[in-house]
Structures are given as structure tokens and as C-alpha cells.
Symmetry: C2
Subunit: 638 residues, 2 copies
């Protein structure tokens, strides 16, 4: 199926028009560097997927190339118009997507791309999950809102695959894996988002193994659309007499249209769309209110274990949101760079400035140090963030194998490791992605505020990333509270020791090429910061014994500190990889590519990592600095 896609897509020429320089270009050289030189996925695949013939360099190369073409030629051109047109709520069972979305989706389904990493048994390609993450990197950047439709569906597929009976899996997975239908996750209600203890939707047994589901769910991303014949909702609801709070929530599979034993799409199941939201951005993806009105549903997994089942894939879905931050930085960089090279304004102060153009009316704005600072920040976040996410892809691949092998213990150990990294990546990379997108507006000046320059859309689309899938505040509490303190430091012991070993090795070894002179200095910086991270953890833990609110009060600074250190760790990894390439014969055909990596690593260590000083300075203030003011005293005017 993949081959079919390859053959069909290969016929389309890669766009090389001037206009394309202002749209999305898949950074295949960057991906190759990150996959093969920074993280050595080749060795990883050989070790873990050695028995699967189709997991090889050629397949990976073909997947990357074909996804790149699909993103550049099909998805990117829909991005701006999708924002302008948005989705339309027609009636309770009909929501339409922007022009072109369905045609692109049909191509995607025809190519078998939705099944890339899902089991062959259900029609997938059974390739490593990491392939899907590389795919998501490019798709998310080219057109985030379109990518949400198959993206949300993956969450539903994973949930059904892990927790449903064989009967339900056989019935519902094939059309989901093929992409013929899509799936959603229905958690939020008007009264509760983060706090799912308050879920009020009800499930009443019909006596035939099915249930009547009644209640209102809101903010259901891709909850309805015109791209497929059916939509399968995974819905949190309470059974009669269920315990209060999170221990009384069950998960149900509720199709939009009932499905016959032959798989045929039947009657509407009264999953009524009450409205779609009018949002700041992400106009191309529908955000639905769904009023379930005695809709027929089937239990997923066990009674009252719904939240656990739903959260099985919380790390991978949060990783997808971390990718949204990386995508925002990448797209803002791709938008801003050509503008910064073309736009002429004022003269560089320093006559030795490499980018002066004395013959023109003024120098290009990229000659000005702060414009470069903004571009380099975007670049450092995009490339460093990609490396952070791809490192997690290594873990996710092993989790996929553990699931297939039914090795629960191994799965849980890997999930713990991923669970420690996830809030750092989700929290930090989405915050930095929004910052990078906003820097894009600054680079464009007033032109950045105008829709046709495409930069403000990046900001509007990305702005939800630090909010959904758990706000930055929730990620921060998850990291410091659940993953660090409640687990008595086990995950952070492991993590910080590992980073310290990596840094010390680099400090001892240093660089090998003539350009590797900063490696020891950067390794030293990283080592100091990882020790400080651990020390700060101990300090907060100690304070928390007397001052419980210090956890909430310190958490966001703690998260951002962890993020700055992790980004620096990855820039040291990239610097080492670039140095190694330069040492082996000067970096082949592109020594400048590797020298640019080394220069950007220096930027990350000199201009981004030190921002952590601000977090340290505010992190440990006593919690009563924020908590002592009674809520009635915040304002005396309103």
C-alpha cells in the first residue's frame, strides 16, 4: 500500500517556484541529521526491529521523501485558505471542512498513510512508531489543522487497540487504521476540563452489553467533519452507582452512525453536534460540542477504569502537542528567514558585519544582531526541540514492541521514563514554540500583523498548544508533583545521573575537529545545570514538608528550568554529532551545515540556557508571596 502511495506521489514534481520559498519546505537534511547522526536510529532499528525485513534504510528514506512531497505539495498549500475559510456547522450531524481538506485526506487514505505504524492484522504497515513521529513532524508544520484529523484518530486507535475486546477491535479497527473512518477523544464537559473528577455524562446499561450514553461534551477536536462516513467517539461517562470522582469514570465507544455486523454504516446514533467553536486559530479543525442523547455505546476495557484507559496514551498524545511547539518554531523560522534576508532597513553598526550590503539602499535586516537573535532562537527551538521529540521516539518504539509482546513490566518501565520527559517536552516546547512564533511577528515588523504574510496565523494556531492536553500549569504540577516528588525522586535520579554522565564524558573527551572548541565549555555548563536541577529538586522537596504550596508556586519555573537544561543537552548532542562529522573528512559535501550546528549550539548555550537564571531567582520564593492575598482583595474596583 505504501508502495502504491510512493509510485503515485513520485509522479508529482517537487515544487520549486519562488512562491514555495514562502510556504513549507520539508527539512529533510535536518531530519536526516537528527535521525542518523544525532540519535543513530539505524542501530536502534537493527537492535529492535532486526527481524522485520521491511524496516530498513530504503523504506525509511521512501517514507520521508514521500511524506515530504505530500506535505509540500498537498498540505501546505491548504494551510492559509483553511484558516480563512474555517469549518462550518451545518446541522446536528453535519460539519464541513475547508475546501481541499477532504481531497487531501482521500489521498492520504489511498496511500495507506494512516496505518503506517499500526499492526498488519488491522490493515497497517506495522512500521516502527518512530516513522509516524517523523511523519507527524512534517505534517504538523505544513498544516497543523489538517493533521489533527488523522492525529486525533490515532489516539482513538491506540485506545481501542489496547483496551477493547477482540470483537470490538475486529469490527472497528480496520476502518480506523485505513483512515476510512476517524476517531475522537471526548473528555471535556462544560464544567470540567483538567479536573475530570467532575465528569457528569451518564451511561446506563441496555441489558444487551451496550449502554445508553447521555451528556454534553465540549471542545471535541475533529468531533465531526465531512471527510469520512463515520466518526467513532471514545467517551468518558459514569455508570449508575459508580464511585464519585475519578474512580467512577468509565470509557465507552460511541459511533456517530451505528455499524452493522457486516461493517456497513447505519442509523445516526444521536451524537448531535450542538455547535462548533469560534476560536482564535486552528480554524481548519472543527471543535465540537456533542450532545449525546441516549446514544448507543460499548464499554472500552473495565468499568470505572476509564480514566486509566484514556490516559494510557496520554504521553504519546502530549508528545504530539510538544511537536506542535516544534512545528510552530520551524514554520515561523521558515517564514521569517527569507523576509529577513530580503527586507532592507538601516545600516549594521559594525562595518565588519558579514551581511552588510553597501550597494543597496540599506542592509538586509538579518545583518542586525537582534534580528539574528530572534532567528537563532527559532532555529535553536525547532532543531533542538526536534531532537528532544525524536529521543522520545526511541522509547515509544520500544513501548510498541512491549505492547505487541504483552510485556507489561517492560512497557511500564518505558512509560515511566517517557512520563518523566513528557511534561518537560510538552510544557517547555509549546511555550517556546509560541515565543518563536511571536518572534516571527517581530521579525516582520508591522507586516507580521497582516494576515497575508502568514506569520500571525502561526501565532494563532500555536497559541492553543500550551493550553490543551493539559496546560503548562498542569504539566508543571505533573512534572514536579507526580513525576518527581510523589515518586520519591526515582525518575529524576535516573535522568539526572544519565545527563551528568553524558556531560562528564563530553567534558573529558572534548571535541575532535578544529571547530569543536566549545564542547568542553558547553559540557561544563550542562553538568553544572544538571547538578543544580537536582539540588533545586531537593530544596523544593525539603521546603514542601512545611510549605505544601511551594510545589505549585515553584512548578512553572521548575518546568522551564528543566526545559532549558534539556534543550541545552540536545544541543550538546548535536554539537558532538556535528563535530564528529567534521572530524571525519570535514563533513563531506556540507562542512558548512555542521559548522552552522556548532554555531547554533553556542547560541543555545550563551543566549538560551542562561535564561534559567531568571527561573532560579524566582522559583524558591516562599509560596505565601502568591498565596497570602485573599481572593476578595485582588481588586477593590470590580
Amino acid at each position: 500500500m505504501l508502495m502504491r502511495a510512493a509510485g503515485r506521489l513520485a509522479k508529482r514534481a517537487r515544487r520549486t517556484t519562488v512562491a514555495a520559498t514562502r510556504s513549507y519546505v520539508a527539512p529533510l537534511k535536518e531530519l536526516d541529521f537528527c535521525i542518523n547522526e544525532v540519535h543513530d536510529f539505524e542501530a536502534h532499528y537493527a537492535k529492535h526491529f532486526g527481524d522485520r525485513e521491511h524496516v530498513n534504510a530504503e523504506t525509511l528514506d521512501m517514507v520521508l521523501t514521500e511524506v515530504a512531497k505530500f506535505c509540500e505539495n498537498e498540505l501546505a498549500p491548504l494551510n492559509e485558505a483553511g484558516d480563512a475559510e474555517g469549518c462550518t456547522w451545518v446541522d446536528e450531524r453535519t460539519v464541513t471542512t475547508p475546501k481541499g481538506y477532504k481531497a487531501a485526506y482521500d489521498q492520504f487514505v489511498e496511500g495507506g498513510w494512516q496505518g503506517l505504524s499500526f499492526p498488519e492484522k488491522y490493515g497497517g504497515q506495522e512500521l516502527p512508531y518512530s516513522y509516524s513521529i517523523f511523519q507527524a513532524d512534517m505534517m504538523a508544520t505544513a498544516n497543523w489543522t489538517w493533521t489533527m484529523y488523522p492525529g486525533l484518530s490515532k489516539g482513538a486507535i491506540n485506545t481501542i487497540y489496547s483496551h477493547c475486546t477482540e470483537e470490538l477491535k475486529d469490527k472497528y479497527l480496520p476502518p480506523l487504521v485505513s483512515g476510512e473512518w476517524t476517531g475522537t477523544m471526548c473528555l471535556t464537559e462544560p464544567a470540567c476540563g483538567s479536573d475530570l473528577a467532575q465528569v457528569a455524562t451518564k451511561a446506563v446499561p441496555n441489558g444487551d452489553g451496550s449502554y445508553k450514553i447521555t451528556g454534553t461534551k465540549i471542545f471535541i477536536s475533529c468531533g465531526d467533519h465531512d471527510m469520512t462516513d463515520n466518526v467513532l467517539h471514545c467517551v468518558l461517562a459514569r455508570l449508575p452507582g459508580a464511585p464519585e470522582g475519578t474512580k467512577g469514570i468509565s470509557l465507552f465507544l460511541v459511533p456517530k452512525h451505528l455499524v452493522g455486523d457486516d461493517g456497513a454504516v447505519g442509523d445516526f446514533n444521536k451524537t448531535n453536534i450542538g455547535r462548533i467553536e469560534d476560536k482564535m486559530g486552528c480554524h481548519g479543525s472543527s471543535t465540537c460540542e456533542i450532545n449525546f442523547d441516549e446514544s448507543q455505546g460499548w464499554l472500552i476495557g473495565s468499568e470505572n477504569k476509564g480514566l486509566n484507559h484514556m490516559f494510557t496514551f496520554i504521553n504519546t498524545s502530549r508528545l504530539g502537542t510538544a511537536m506542535q511547539g516544534v512545528a510552530a518554531a520551524e514554520l515561523a523560522f521558515q517564514n521569517g528567514l527569507p523576509y529577513a534576508k530580503d527586507r532592507l532597513a538601516m545600516r549594521a553598526l559594525d562595518r565588519k558585519n558579514v551581511d552588510r550590503e553597501p550597494d543597496k539602499a540599506a542592509d538586509p535586516i538579518i545583518a542586525h544582531p537582534d534580528v539574528r537573535r530572534m532567528l537563532l532562537t527559532q532555529k535553536a527551538v525547532a532543531e533542538g526541540g526536534r531532537s528532544m521529540v525524536f529521543e522520545c521516539a526511541l522509547i515509544v518504539d520500544e513501548m510498541q514492541l512491549a505492547t505487541e509482546a504483552g510485556d507489561t513490566a517492560k512497557y511500564e518501565a518505558l512509560d515511566d521514563r517517557l512520563g518523566f520527559l513528557t511534561p518537560i517536552l510538552k510544557g517547555y516546547l509549546t511555550e517556546m514554540g509560541v515565543e518563536a512564533a511571536n518572534l516571527g511577528i517581530q521579525i516582520f515588523g508591522g507586516h507580521g500583523y497582516i494576515k497575508s504574510n502568514k506569520q500571525e496565523q502561526v501565532v494563532r494556531d500555536a497559541r492553543i498548544a500550551p493550553v490543551w492536553e493539559g496546560t503548562t500549569q498542569i504539566q508543571a504540577l505533573d512534572l514536579l508533583g507526580r513525576k518527581v516528588l510523589l515518586q520519591k525522586l526515582a525518575p529524576i535520579n535516573h535522568h539526572c545521573k544519565g545527563v551528568a554522565k553524558f556531560a562528564f564524558d563530553a567534558l573529558v573527551a572534548g571535541g575532535t575537529s578544529s571547530d569543536g572548541g566549545n564542547i568542553r565549555s558547553h559540557a561544563f555548563q550542562l553538568l553544572k545545570h544538571v547538578a543544580e536541577w537536582y539540588w533545586l529538586t531537593l530544596s523544593i522537596g525539603k521546603k514542601a514538608m512545611k510549605d505544601r504550596d511551594i510545589v505549585g508556586s515553584a512548578s512553572v519555573d521548575y518546568l522551564m528550568f528543566a526545559g532549558h537544561v534539556t534543550l541545552a543537552e540536545h544541543w550538546l548532542k548535536m554539537e558532538l554529532a556535528a563535530d564528529a562529522q567534521l572530524a571525519q573528512g570535514g563533513g563531506g559535501q556540507d562542512p558548512d551545515f555542521y559548522k552552522a550546528k556548532i554555531a547554533t549550539a553556542r547560541f543555545a548555550f550563551e543566549k538560551i540556557l542562561p535564561r534559567a537564571r531568571g527561573n532560579v531567582a524566582t522559583m524558591l520564593a516562599p509560596s505565601d508571596v502568591t498565596t497570602s492575598l485573599p481572593k476578595g482583595h485582588f481588586s477593590f474596583d470590580y
Copy 2:
């Protein structure tokens, strides 16, 4: 005229519906505190305006009360619909504004509000300019886009008043001061924004004292609309044979419709509106491309001195943009506070938390420390920023008197002082205003992304503030380059000495009430930071002798550092004022109001000022960290 407004507006009851709690409430208690207790405007008016009978506490009180009513009852209700509807480009001479904008403007004109601080000779009230700044505070927060129409016009009035011949002033000022017409400032062209050296619009003498103006201007805010019969454009253009660059630019008055000797509006002057921009926000204010096609214009001031004339009021107009940052923080706070009190989610970690509500399904989110951190950040920026702007209002009042008295030397000394503070206020407060607005989205969670909750509009409307009137990058270069280094530190010597004296006095005196215990600690912090500010200045100055690009490379961190210190300075002022009130009989009827100020000062010193450590840590990195990468090596994929 003012009395007429008062009488008419007083008849309208101040809205007290529940809905109003989610709209704008004029913070009159805050204004009173800032005007009378922090800055002592009463003494200021007595000293400088003692000979003007109508400048008295009753007039000020009436102005504040009536402006508050107008903002709450007329402007705020138009804000959301104005965003949704936006402006419409009808044809080359017609742009329409959102429904209700004209009616509100007519009321404003009828009340004589545009002339509040302009000379009686031209129909104004001749009240201190500071009154207009208080007025702008409320209007900007209630409805920024509506406020831009009279706001831009003030810039034109000031320019014409200061530089035109008596004949032109007599002809054009009365309808501008009454608000019957509005004015604009036409600087930007497609090829140049910040770099006005590239202005290409041409002016050719007609031989009768007038000129033919031809060229395209873009981004002309409020450049056309349906609220008045005429619009007067102040246009930068080049005369034949003018020197290249900024020394060859002249300024012209170009009416949309020619005006007869009797003041009657006549023929269209071919100031053709080519389009209006489709923008991220600020939809209620039109942003026009104007194609001047041999339009008839008159010279303002002297030939080739246009940029100087235009920049006479650059400090006051940038101050207006700083106010946009304050307004964004205030409005985001007003939106977020009731939501944070009402919305229930999860339990506070600490059982001693003052805002727990154990009887409800969950605690209100304001009980959570990081939600409070976000609200307190908004509050600290709004209230501290207001104090920063109002301090400048004291200077502006004296400049107004110096202008009237023709005392150029005094005017220039005051303008130098204002010119030092302006980039700090404009740069820092707009950046912090956008941050505060974005925190508003975080407070609302997913609901913050939905238009009907009004929070995302605050972000979209405010996002232009760090861009126009000179980007943050331009402000930073203006501060560190022009105002500090090029003036051989004179303005910063004066400033830092003054702040150090203030801080040392507070360190010695301490507080007088039982709640004033942090004053000495905060004074010590401020003193250390102001000394460090000066030391950083010297360090950069020294480095700049060998590394000119260090100025651009350090500038934004330098600006943000200066902003953090200045905000802290004002929170110490406010803390001292609150302490003094508490010491005199416990703060009258509202001791809690003053205690809240002291608690917020503590927050500003513990959670905002220390962020400056991040700026210090990155500021002095060698400039080649940003400048060494050749522009061609930023990306190898596109």
C-alpha cells in the same frame, strides 16, 4: 462644553448588571490612589497650574467620573462586536467603521472631550495634558480600536499646533480640536517602516504655496472612516532636489477633502484608499493604504525638516502605546479575575489555603498558586505600569506649559528626560502587556481560546503594541544606543542617581505602619539593581569600543532589565504610599486596599524583578554569538 458633557452623561446610570462584571469597569479607586497618593498630582497642579481656576480637584473628579461612565456604558459594549464586524473598504474614498462607532464618536465630540487638553484659542478646554492621559487609560482599556481614532488625531493636532503657520492653524485646528474632523500620521511606505531614510513619496511645488503630493503610504491607522466629514493627513514626502536619506524629508498637510476659505469641505483631494489591511486584531480601527495622486498639500514647518517635526511628539505617541500595554494587562486581569474566582477545578494542595471551598465540587482555580501567580503578574503590570505612565504625565504637563510659554530650553530638557523613559515604557510595558494578555488565556484554559470569552481578542489587539511606533528592537536600540551611549551617559547618570537616592531614602527610613516591614528589603533590592544597571551600562560601553555589535546584541536584554527595575521602583513608590496611608489611621475605610498593595509589591519584588537575572546572564555574551553565522548558513534546506 465639559459641563454639558457632564450633565448629559450623568443621567445615565452606571451599569451594574452581572454581565458588566465581565466587561470593563473603570478602576477609579486605583486611579485615585495613583494620582493622589503615589504621585501627588494635587501638589503638581497647585505648583504649575495654580493660576488656572478651572484646574482643581472638582474638575478632575468630574472628568474621571464622566470618562469612566462613557467608557463603561458606551465604549466597552462596542469592543467585542467591533472586533467581529471590523471595518469595510467600500471604495477609494469610503471606509466604514463597525456599528455604533460613529454614534459613540458623535457623543464624544458633543461632549467636547477631544479638546480636553488643547488650547482654548482653538476650542479646547486647556486642561493639563495629564487629564488626557488619565482619559486615555480608561478609553484604551475599554475599547482600544475606537480610541485610536481620536488618539491618532491628537498626534496630528500636536504636530500642526507646533509647526504650522498661524494661517494653517486657524484654518485646520478648530475642527480637529472639536473632533469634527480627525487627523492621521502618514509615514510608512511599502519599502520602509522603521527606516524612513527610504521614503519615496514626492512633493512638487505648485507655485502658489501649495504642493502636489504623489506616492503610496501604507499602515495608516484610522486613515479613513465614516465618522467625520474630513480627514487631515500629515504626510512625509521629498521635495525636488532634496538631500538623500532622512535629511531630505519634508512634512505636508494633505486634507482628504479640500477646505474652502470659509472652512467648508469641498472637492475630494485624490487621497485614494487602495485597500484596508486584514489584520490579526485591531479590527475596529482601519489600517489604510493611501495612494496620493497629485493631492494638494501644504508644507508643515520647514523644508527637509519633516522628520524632526514628525518626531516632536514621538515620545508622547510612544507613551500612548505604552498605555496600550497597561490596558492589555488591565483588561486581561479584569477578564480573568472573576473566572478564576468562579471556575472550580481540583483541590488546593495546602489545607491552610485561604481560598479553599470544601463544600463545593472543587476549589476555585484562584486557590492554585500558579493561577494566582498569573493574576498577580497581570495586576503588578497593570498597576505598576499605570504608575510608570502617570509619572511621565507629570513631565508632559510641564512640557505643555513650556510650549505655551515658548520656553524652548526648558521644553528640550524635559523632552530629554521623557526621551530616556519612553523607550523603557514603550518597550517593556508592551512586551509585558502581551505577556499578561497571554496569561489571561492560560487562566481560562481551553475557554481562553474561544472568542466569546473575550480573552483571545485582548491578545490579538495587544499583539501589535510591541511592533508599531517602533518595535521592541527599535526601542532597545533607541535606549541603549541613542539615549545612553551617544549622549555619553548623561540621561542615565541623572536617572540612576535619582532612583538610587529614592531607594536609599527608603532603605534608611523603612516603613511606618505595622505592615511596612518589607520596605527596607525592597529598597535594598532596588538599590542593588540600579547600581547593577549602571554597571552593565559601563560594561557595554567599554565592550562597544572593540565590539560595536554588542550594542544591538545586548539591547533587548538591557531594555527588559531596565523595565524590570523601573517596575520595581514604582512598586516601592506604591508600597511607601500604602504604608503611609496605613500609618495614618489604618488606611481609612479600606485598610485592605493598602494591604493588597503591599502584598502585590512583595510579589513584584520576589517574582518579577528577579527575572532580570536571566537578562543579565545573556546580555553580555559576545556579539559574535549572534553575528558570526553567515546568512546563507541559517538553513540548508530552504
